[in-house]
Structure formats: structure tokens, C-alpha cells
Symmetry: D2
């Protein structure tokens, strides 16, 4: 079967990573073009990877030889390009968030439904991490009873230029998606509290934060966001079920016995921690598109994620519990 031809919008670090991934590691597709508002930079990247450069992403979206689009542009432009791809009837993989505002996400959902075909996938790569997949399989087996509580943490060694708002919007959005997928049910309430702030937080930043979520069946989730934890990039998830608990595995690293200790390395950044997840995510996306379907996180998932994040942000600003109100799920996504 011939390779699916892809155009990438946004040629920054993430965009380049995806170009390299698709063109040197994965199978069945090829990035043949790229587009970026910064025309000169776009040209340099196009040369580096032997791609065709477009000044206007929409021209690329509408080009005859482009079958699918990857959107890694700045968040504010996601809506415009995803809608253009839908209009052109092309598959579109959009990095999270689908759009910063939930009503923009809703607009995308409506456009996709109007077009009559699922074309949009959102880049929630955690669902492809082998550890989370094991967790989901074990939960779904029913062998441990219903999940009752989730205790999670999302820690970065350090960040700069980070604001209090970004903990929910940039970090915890990953947990918002992956935990809902893991549990197979929607959230009902959100709350965000501020523990004592670390001396390592810059300026006005409140770090760490803890987000509490509850689900329709009453499952209670706590997720710590700690973006200046100093020690490493660390993702924890413990699922407490009625007859046992399940813990997300640590990455497999060599254990050293040295300096009066057993020492096992922890990752320093997300790209190292989730490299397998990214590869699997894109390979499965390519495979599904070539079979004429989307089987990853949908536009609806993108909408639900942003509604939840918005409620959590409101809860954080108000320092009180917020009820989360979703539109009814369209039958289109069942």
C-alpha cells in the first residue's frame, strides 16, 4: 500500500520531532510538506528534511497531494487549521489542546459532524504509553472491582516562564484526558488547591498545586502538579480498586549499587519519558487513517478536555469546587 502523504503545520521543535519520527522511524506515511507563518524558518526546515515549504498553511491543506495534516502551530491557530482540514475532507492530527477555548472546540465538533466523517485526532499521547495501556487493560478486566480513587502526580524538574494558570492548562490537561479514558466515565466536579509553595517557584507562581476531580460514579481523583520538583520528570498513577490497587510502572532503567545506595535513574524530561508513546501514537494514527478511520482521541475528547480544564481553572481562581457541565455527547462519536 502506498505511503500516506502528510503536511505539517508548525515547524518548531515539536513539529520537527514529528517530521523526523514519521520519516525515519514509522511506516506507511511520509511528510512531504510543511507550513509556518515564519516563512524563512519554514524554508530552512523544509530544506533540512527535503520537504515542500508553504507560506500559507491553508494552501498546503488544500494541495492535491496532501492526504493528512499534522497541526503543531501555536495553540491559538489550531481552530482555524483544523476547520480548514475538515472542510478539505482531510485527516488532521492536532496537538493538544484542540483549541484553547471550549466553544472553539465545540465549533470543530459541529463542523466535523456536519462533514459527516470523523477526521480529527487530538494529540493526547498518554493513552499510547504502554504503562497506561496495561493499567486500562487491568481495570477493564474487572478482576480488581471498580476503581474508587486515583492518586496521581505530574512532576517536572523545573520550568521557566511558567504561570499559575499553566499547571492546569499545560500539565494537568494530560491527566484530564488520560484518566477519563482510563476510567471510561466523565467528570462531575473539579477543584484546585494550593499547598505550601516551593522556594524554587519563580515570581508569583503557585507551585505545587493539587487538582481534585470526581467522576459520575463518584470516583475521586487527586493529581499533584509540581513543575519545579527539581529531582526529575516523574509521572505517578495509582488506581485504588475495590479488591486491589494498580500502579503505573516506572521506566525500565539499570539499577546501580553505588555510594551506599541502590540508585535507579529517573527521566529528566517528558520527551524521554514518553518517546514510545509518541511513536505508537503516530504509527496507530497512520494505520487507522489508511484504513479510513480515526481511532484515537476525538474532537469530542478535545472538547471535553477543554471544558474540564476551564472548570478546573475557574475552581482554582475561585478556590472552590466547580461542577463541570458538558453538552450531551453527540451520537456521532459513539
Amino acid at each position: 500500500m502506498s505511503e500516506m502523504k502528510i503536511g505539517v503545520i508548525g515547524t518548531g521543535a515539536i513539529g520537527q520531532t514529528h517530521i523526523e519520527r514519521i520519516n525515519t522511524k514509522l511506516q506507511g506515511a511520509r511528510v512531504i510538506a510543511c507550513a509556518d507563518p515564519n516563512a524563512d524558518f519554514c524554508k530552512s526546515i523544509a530544506e533540512k528534511f527535503s520537504l515542500k515549504a508553504y507560506d500559507d498553511p491553508k494552501d498546503m491543506i488544500n494541495a492535491d497531494d496532501i492526504e493528512a495534516v499534522v497541526v503543531t502551530a501555536a495553540d491559538n491557530f489550531h481552530e482555524e487549521y483544523v476547520l480548514a482540514a475538515i472542510e478539505a475532507g482531510k485527516y488532521v492530527f492536532c496537538e493538544k489542546p484542540l483549541a484553547p477555548e471550549s466553544n472553539a472546540c465545540r465549533k470543530i465538533v459541529d463542523a466535523e459532524i456536519a462533514g459527516g466523517k470523523q477526521l480529527v485526532q487530538v494529540g493526547f499521547m498518554r493513552r499510547y504509553d504502554p504503562g497506561y495501556r496495561q493499567l486500562k487493560e487491568l481495570i477493564d478486566s474487572g478482576d480488581y472491582g471498580a476503581p474508587l480513587m486515583l492518586h496521581c502526580a505530574h512532576r517536572n524538574p523545573e520550568v521557566s516562564g511558567f504561570t499559575t494558570e499553566m499547571s492546569v492548562e499545560n500539565s494537568l490537561i494530560h491527566e484530564i484526558d488520560v484518566l477519563r479514558w482510563l476510567l471510561g466515565e466523565n467528570y462531575e466536579t473539579a477543584e484546585v488547591v494550593f499547598p505550601r509553595t516551593t522556594r524554587n517557584a519563580e515570581g508569583e507562581l503557585r507551585d505545587p498545586q493539587i487538582m481534585y476531580l470526581t467522576t459520575e460514579s463518584g470516583i475521586r481523583i487527586d493529581v499533584e502538579s509540581f513543575v519545579n520538583c527539581k529531582y526529575g520528570y516523574d509521572i505517578k498513577c495509582e488506581v485504588v480498586c475495590e479488591e486491589g490497587t494498580l500502579t503505573l510502572p516506572e521506566p525500565a532503567n539499570v539499577m546501580k549499587r553505588v555510594d551506599a545506595a541502590r540508585v535507579t535513574p529517573i527521566c529528566r524530561d517528558w520527551s524521554e519519558r514518553f518517546v514510545d508513546a509518541y511513536n505508537i501514537e503516530f504509527q496507530e494514527w497512520i494505520n487507522a487513517c489508511k484504513e479510513g478511520r480515526v481511532d484515537g482521541p476525538t474532537a469530542w475528547d478535545g472538547y471535553v478536555g477543554q471544558v474540564t480544564a476551564a472548570a478546573a481553572s475557574k475552581a482554582r481562581d475561585a478556590q472552590s469546587v466547580m461542577t463541570i457541565e458538558f453538552d450531551e455527547k453527540p451520537a456521532f462519536y459513539n
Copy 2:
């Protein structure tokens, strides 16, 4: 140095354990008498351990040859016997709670102060667990910065005759004491929430529960209480500090490779999990009494524990955050 002579009030399971512990495992003291409202049963236990039996605990407290008293009677009787011991000028080790009501605890505190000498120790044995002691030493070293969050769990395999109230009062009271000791600061607020209830909870019992505590410096604590977790007796405590996290160790057990898994046993009950803590607690109590002092959890700690538990109970009933109000700490306890 001669052995300290001890009388034990309450000859139930716990009382017998302590008699056996002091008389066959520890050094420097001897239980020579016991007292219990159930006179016949008391006599049978006295015979078993070759002790003198008293019908009235107060007679035993006031007996000339008794130097120290251990109170393991029903909670409601703690106040009466502890006050009697203070009046008799004798050391008294009282199982938690010091008294169910915080004003009863305060009365004991006042009596002890009036007596002019510290005589009371409360049975919060977690402070003697080698793992918690390691945690405290590491926190106090300052090498990891200030603690910001504590994530804890207190799980029992199953219970019967347990009520929703007992999660705070019987289970979480241990964390209330040990975490305050670990951090060296008082609590400010308490909250108790109800996750989805396990199908394994009897009757009206809400199980699991999560208690949230905040401290004076803003440290935020979550403690899961899950008394029907089914899988084992399990105590978890992770201290998230500014430059690293510290995790309470698992008990040292043989790891088996069997049946396609690495399998390491978990305890089934608290007496197994904390056997070392109990031994160390009583040995250190005996040693301190013989040197004329009390160096374990004081009557004031007992008071603070009950005030905190009362606030958490109120918070649970009201399903809202409660501020915790303590009396000012008397200089007597500094």
C-alpha cells in the same frame, strides 16, 4: 537498677499483649498486677501471668508497690484512671485516645500541670516505627528543603462493626499524631471527603474516605482511609519536599519469583506491621520513667490529637472545611 513495677488496667487482647511484651521481651520493668471491671476474667488473666488481680483499678493505682500504670481499658474510662494516676503521682501510659472528648483531654493536661510533673504518655506507637523515624531524620536534616505535601494511605483488609465515624476516630487518629510529629507543626484546617464507596463496605459505612489537613506553614496532607481494601494491611506515606521526595519503606519481606510474577508479601494486620514499634515504644517508656521523665507523646499531644479528630469529624459531617482551634500550648510542655 531494679525493675519498675507496673499495673495494667484492662485485661483484653491489647492489655494481654502488653503484659506479655513487658514480661518476656523487654528489660527493666515487670507487670505485677492487673485490674479489670470484669473481675472473673481479670482473675483468670492474673493467674495466667502470675499477677495480682484487683477488682478496682484505683486500688491498684494507689498500691504502694505499683510504680507505673498502663491503661488499656475502654476509651470512656481512660480519663478517670489517668487522673487517678496523676493524683497518685505515678507514671501512666494510656492507649490512644487519651480520652474520647477533647475537653476531657484538656482536664488531664490541667491536672498534670497542677501536679507539677509530666507523668502521662499516650500510646501513639507510629512515632517508634523505624521507617517513620528515618523519615523524620531525613526531613529534619533539611537536605531536601521544606515539606510541601504528604500523600498517605492507611488501609485495612477488612473490618466488621465499623462505622463511618470510626475512620477518623480509630484509624486516622494515628496519622493525625504521627504526621504532626513528623512535620513539627500544628494543623490549621481539616476536611473529609467520600470517594465512591466500595461494594465491600457493610451497611451504611462510607468506605474509603480521604482526610485533607493543612498545617500552619501551608503543608497540604491527604490521607486515604480504606478499611475494607481487601488486599492487606498497608501504610503509605510520601513526603514531597522542595528538592526531593521521601517514601516510608515497605516491610522487609522475601521476594518470590513464582507463577509468572515477582511477589512480595504484604502484612495482614497492624500488630504484625507495627510489632517493632510497640516493642521500642514500651522499652523507651520504661527507660525514660526509670530516669524520671516522659519523652514520648504527651498529654498535650493527646489533647491536640483529639481536637484535630473532632474537627475532622465535624468537617466530615458538614462536608466542608473546618478550621481547627487549639488552646495555646502551655509552657509546661516545651
Copy 3:
């Protein structure tokens, strides 16, 4: 760059796995033909994967459109097909062993040298396992001093139709290659001893066995081979260095707390344990061939492996230590 066209010799289980791997998971190559002495079976596999079927593997090797060959035929046929590929000037990936007899391996080495170009790679996939690669990187860093001892185990849950000879030749051959690669030096002596035999060994089989190897610099290696260990497929490697030890990581699996134990799954077979290693091995082989070189285990490595295995087999039969004699390494392989 166009896809490298591959023909696979041997359409049994392993052959099919490689066809599927190359054609659905990896990039840059495509299996377009297969050959097997069992012509009917070969045809059915060819149909299944839409390949061209050849009755005679040599016809396929010499076909104009075939650029590289994968040999998964029965061990005895390896020599013939690898030599044919060398003669045809085509890259050839040969499953281990390169050939059962070391003089056959030597013949391949000589043919390759005579041809003037490295074309042969041997399927020692352990070198591609991420855990072993971490070990090698840490050893090579020199941070832990020189390796002094290696303690290893290679365990299978159970086997049937296995003979005492096969422990060295089929199982331990993997350690023979990967440990030499890890240490970067040759072996000097081999010994094989028989511990107490498990009641689960069939017939005359001696199981477990332990192979001892020493290297040029005096490093001492013990490798347990236990093919009926019952509990799972388990690979262990501890490298004891002058200033620390390094342990091969366990696969990353969910830890469950259930039934009074912490339980982490162990694989049941090698294909699950080394699936990543196989994928990386073939992708790197494809990439290297397309760049005109071989950078995996060479024909010389295949020769050295068989010489070592032969010495170990002799040592086992004689129940004494054998010195291992290698030809001098041809400059061609430096």
C-alpha cells in the same frame, strides 16, 4: 529513499514474524519474496503476505529485484544460503547460529573477506535490548571501574524435546554473544557444571546447568541456564565492577497490590521479553544496509560464538575446564 527489497528464506514461525515486522512495523524496507523447501507451505505464506514464492532459495537470492536476504531456515542450511548471498553480493541477515559448526562459520568469514565487503549480520538480538544497551553505556563510561564478575541467569518456564546439549547451544549462545559484546573482550576458558536436576526435567535432560566463562582480563562469568524454571521467562545480568554493580532492568510492568502481596508480572516467553530488541535490531539493520554497511554482529562474531559454544559443550561433556582457542581476528573486521 526507496524501500530495500528483501527475500526471506524459511517461512516457519520466526520467518513469518520477521515478514510481519518488516512489512507492518518498520520503515525503509519491504519483504517481497519468500522461499522454503516445503513448497506448498511456502506458497500459502506467500499468499498470506502477498509475496512471490520461490521453490529454490538460491533463485530468490539471485533474483534481480532482491537486495537483501533474511535467513531463518533450519540451522544446517544457514551456511549454504549465507555463502550464496555473499556470492551474489547481497546483504544477508542470518538468525543465530551463523552455522552449527565453527569451521562452517570460518568458511563464511573467509568468503566474506574474499568478497571484499561486509555483508553478513548475525541475529544476536540481545545487543539491541534497551536494558543491555544501558548496561554497556554505563560500563563503557568507566565510572564504576573495570568489571570483575558477571552473575547471569537465563530461565524459561518449560520446554519439551530439549536435550542437555541444547542448554549451551540454544540458550546460552545468547549470553555468549551479548556478554562478550558488553565487556569488549574475548573469552579464555569455559566450564559447565550440573547442579541438582529439577524434578520437572524430562527424561535424561540435565536441567539446570551453570556455565562459567573467564575472559582475557580475568573477568569471571557465571550464567545459569534453567529451561524448566516453571515460573516464567526471566533474564538476569549483574555486572560487578570495582566501584559499583549494575543490574539489567526488569521489564516495566504494572505492580498490583492484591492478595496480601505486591505482585509484578514476569514475561512468559522470549518473544514478549525481547520484542523491542527485535524491532530495533531489524530497523537498524535496514538503515545500515541502505547506507551501505553492516553495523551489527558480524560473521566474525558468529564464528567466535560457535567456537565458544563448542568449547563449552566439550567442557560439559568432559566435566572439566576447557581453554578456548580462536583464530586471530582478521583486520577486515576491525
Copy 4:
């Protein structure tokens, strides 16, 4: 029951540790006297612990108020004092080795048998370590089938003034005893090999060494002795059985997440690693003596240990396998 009165021979570091242990931590006994060839030093220790000092250990052994003796004198004097204790009909706890020469051990055995009562216990404290006890219980359960192989290591961070001979005689003697106890059967052969020597070994010292032992039923044991491993004091024992393996637990220490790693401390010396074992060993010895029996390692165990160590030493010097010849076990010890 009154306290058993003990005299300690040898007032060096170990002797003092035992005096302090018995007099401040354990129950049912009291050290009341000490003896040491260095009379002045002996007096100073006697004063420190309020003991009676004896110039001649035999006077102390024969003193009316001494009921039991602990021998921690230099190895060469063990025989003389143990025999004197047997003659005096007093319980004697002798630190390992019972005597450096196996025929001296045999002499003690014969004297004890002639005396008609078991009085001697040898200080092999590993049998009292809770981890080894768990191992023994699991092996004896039969749930995992027969043991087939043991893989062990005994590592010290560093030593000075150590000779090649001492690895067997001072370090591995502990494994010689505890593994035989664990398995419940005698050894048949011993061998000691020299891996590459660490650059951290002083002078002519060969370090590390590996001892191989086989047992009557064919179980094969490897024990690494590495006295300059640099990283810590570390004891490993893996028992490979027919249907599973069992691993000696690591000490329970806080795990830290810090500096991009999970870090769990390892002990730095044996006294820290085996402090519980020593306490249990002496408490059980006291309890047994007071009940009129010896239930720890016997004089016969001391004899068997030295015979095995002598064979291992001979095997090391000859660099070949030695068969171990024991006298027949006297019925007295069944």
C-alpha cells in the same frame, strides 16, 4: 524468674557490645563480670559497666555466681575457655569460629559429649536474621520444590590488613554456616576461584573471590566474597527452587527521589545490617539456657563449619575442587 548471671571473656569492641546489649536491651540475664588478659583494660571496662573484673578467665568461669559465659576472646583462646566452661558445667556462648582448627573443634565436641549435656552455642548470628528465617520457612514449606542452586554475595565496602586467606575464614564462614542451616544438609565439595582482582585491593590480596559448594543432594552454591566492593555492606542470597526462586530481602530503608534517581540507602557495616539478628540471637540463647537447653548453632555446627572452611582454604590454595570429609555426626546432636 531470676536473671541468669553471665561472665564475658574478652572486653574488646565485640565484648563490650554484647555487655551493653545484654544489660540494656535484653531480658532475663545480666553480665556481672568480665575477664581479659589485658588486666588494666579489663578493669576500665568493668568499671564502665559496673562489673567485677577477673584477671584469669578461668577464675571467672568457675566462680559460684557465674551461670553462663560469653567468649569473645581472640580466636586462638576459644578452645581453652570453652573447654573450661564445659568442665565447669556452664553454658557457653562462643563467637565464631568455635576454634580455628577443626581438630580443636572436635575436641570440644568430644568434651561436651563426655560431659553428657549440651552447653555450647556458636555465634553464627545469621540464623537469627529475620530475612534468612523467612527464607528457611519458605524452603521448608515445600511450596517451591527442592532448592537446586543458591547464588549469594557477601560484600564489604573496604577492609585493611586483610589477607587472601581471610575471605574464606572470616567472611565466607558465615555463609558456610547459614546456608547449610538453610538447606538442612551437608556439603560435599568446595572450590574457590579468583576473578579479576580489583584495583582497590591492598598488596597481595586476591579480592574478589568466589566459593563454590555442592551439597549431598547436589545443590550447587556460589558465594561471592568481595571485601573492597566500595559501595557498601551488602548480603545477597537467592534460592533457586524447582518451582520458584526466593530472594533475601533488602533492609527496609526510606526511598528518596532526588537528583534524577530513586535512591535507597545500603548499610555501611555488618553491625548495622545484623543488629536485629544479634539481639534475637542473644535473647533466644538466654531464654533457652534458662529453660535448661541449647537451641542455637551447636559445637557440632562449629566443627562442621571449620572442616568446610579448611577444605575451601585447601581448594583455594590448590586451585582445584576438594571433597569435604566430615566425621559421622554423633547421635548426641540429633
